[in-house]
Symmetry: C2
Subunit: 223 residues, 2 copies
DNA sequence: TATAAAAGTGAACCATGATTCACTTTTATG
DNA sequence: CATAAAAGTGAATCATGGTTCACTTTTATA
C-alpha cells in the first residue's frame, strides 16, 4: 500500500551520486580542495545543501570519496604501465610510468596538485598519504623486480620508490615545474625527458647520453 | 611633560616580541601550524589576545614571521655546508648537506614537517615555497659548480636540485621516513646513508659500493 | 486518488578562530 | 603627583563553513 524503492529510483539515486561526484571533481579541478565546500557543491549540482548530506554523511566522507575516485584511474594507469602484458625492460617500464604520469599531471595541473600536495583536513590527509603510498608501492615492486633480474643495482627500494614520488611531486608541481607545464610543447617534452633521466639515475640506471663518472672513496673523504 | 619611549621600554618591547616568537615556535614544534592560534599563543605567552595584535597586524603576518625565523637557521646551516671555508669535493659537500639536513629533521621532526610540508593559509604557503626554493637554489649552485669542475655530469641542475628537495621531503617526512625517525639509532643511520646515496645518484655520482650497470639503448627500446 | 516512504530543501544553528575596541594599567616626564 | 603616551586586556563581534531539521515535494503502490 505504499512506496517501495525500484530499479528506476535506484538508477536516479546513482545518477545523483555521480552528478555530485562529478561536480565535486570539477570544483577541485579548478579551485583545489579549498573550493570544495558543501554549499558550493550543492549549488554547482543544482541541489540544496541538505541534499548533499543524503549522499555523504560529512564533508570528510565526501572528500575521501572524491579523492578516491580521482585517484583510482591514475593508479590503474601507472600499475598497468609498470607491469604491462608484453615483456619490456624494467628501465623502459619505469620510464613509461614517469612519462605518462608527467603528461597526465600537465593535462590536469590543478587536480594533480590537489591530489598530491594540496592542504586538506587531517582526516583526508590520510587519503593522500595512501595515494602517494600506492604510487610508491608500485615503484617499489618494479624496482625489486628489476634488482632480481639484475637490471638495477641492489639498493633500498622503498626509499628509491619514495624518492621517485618525491621527485614527481616536487619536480612537476613546484613553481618551476608548473611554469614549464604551461610553456611550449617542445620545452615541456625536454623537461619530461629530464625528469625521466633523473628518476632512472635514482635507481642506478645511467643513460649512455649521460656519462657517469666513477667516484672514488677519496672524493668523498674530507681531504 | 609626558611619556617618551626609552631604551628600557624599547628593550622590553623586543623581549616581548621574542617571547611571542619563541612561544609560537614551541606551539608549532609540538602541534604543527594548526596549533598556532592567536588565543593559544596569547595564553602560552601569558598575555591577552589583544596584545598579540600590538606585535603582529594579523595571523598571516605572524605565521610568516615565525616561518621566516624557523627557516633562517636551517638555510644558513645548509649554505655553509654547501660552500664551506675549507676545500671539499662537491660530492662530499652535497653529502654533508644531506646528512646534516636529515639529522636536523630527525631532531625536530614536527617542526621540520610543519616547515616543509604542513598545510597552511595560502598567504603563508608562499613562504614555504620560498623555503623549499632556497634549498633548491643552494643545491643548484652546488651542482652547477660541480658540473663546471667536471665532478658531476652535465644535467638539468634546476631539476636535479628540485629532485633532491623532493627526496628529502618525501623520504624523511612521509610515513615510512617518520617511522624510521623514531627507530633505533643504528637503523636511522643506515637510512640516512641510503638517502645520501640516492641523492648522489640523482646528480650522477655513483658510489663504488653501488655498481652502476651501463644501460644500452636497447634496454630502453620497446622490444 | 490516498498513503507512506524516500528524496529534496534551505534557513537556522553551531563551532572555530581571527579580529576589534572601549577600557585599564603601566611608564616616563614636567 | 599630574599627565599623556603607550602597552595590555578580554569579552564581544565577525566570518567562514559544516551540519541539522522541520518542512515540502516526489514517487510507488493499493
Amino acid at each position: 500500500m505504499a512506496y517501495r524503492p525500484t530499479a528506476k529510483t535506484e538508477a536516479r539515486k546513482q545518477a545523483q551520486l555521480k552528478l555530485l561526484i562529478d561536480s565535486a571533481l570539477t570544483l577541485v579541478a579548478d579551485g583545489g580542495f579549498a573550493a570544495l565546500t558543501m554549499t558550493a557543491l550543492a549549488e554547482r549540482a543544482g541541489l540544496g545543501t541538505g541534499t548533499v548530506y543524503r549522499y555523504f554523511d560529512s564533508k570528510a566522507k565526501l572528500c575521501t570519496e572524491v579523492f578516491r575516485v580521482a585517484t583510482h584511474k591514475e593508479i590503474q594507469n601507472v600499475e598497468h604501465l609498470a607491469f604491462p602484458d608484453e615483456p619490456l625492460s624494467h628501465a623502459k617500464r619505469l620510464s613509461n610510468v614517469i612519462v605518462s604520469f608527467s603528461h597526465r599531471a600537465i593535462a590536469g595541473r590543478k587536480l594533480s596538485y590537489a591530489l598530491i600536495a594540496e592542504p586538506m583536513d587531517p582526516q583526508v590527509e590520510v587519503e593522500r598519504l595512501k595515494y602517494r603510498q600506492a604510487y610508491a608501492d608500485i615503484f617499489q615492486k618494479l624496482i625489486d623486480d628489476g634488482i632480481e633480474h639484475g637490471q638495477f643495482p641492489p639498493q633500498n627500494s622503498a626509499l628509491a620508490a619514495a624518492a621517485i614520488v618525491g621527485i614527481l611531486a616536487e619536480g612537476l608541481l613546484n613553481p618551476i615545474g608548473r611554469e614549464i607545464m604551461v610553456s611550449e610543447k617542445a620545452a615541456r617534452e625536454r623537461f619530461i625527458v629530464d625528469v625521466e633521466k633523473v628518476c632512472l639515475r635514482v635507481v642506478g640506471v645511467t643513460l649512455p647520453s649521460l656519462p657517469c663518472p666513477q667516484t672514488t672513496q677519496a672524493m668523498l673523504s674530507n681531504a
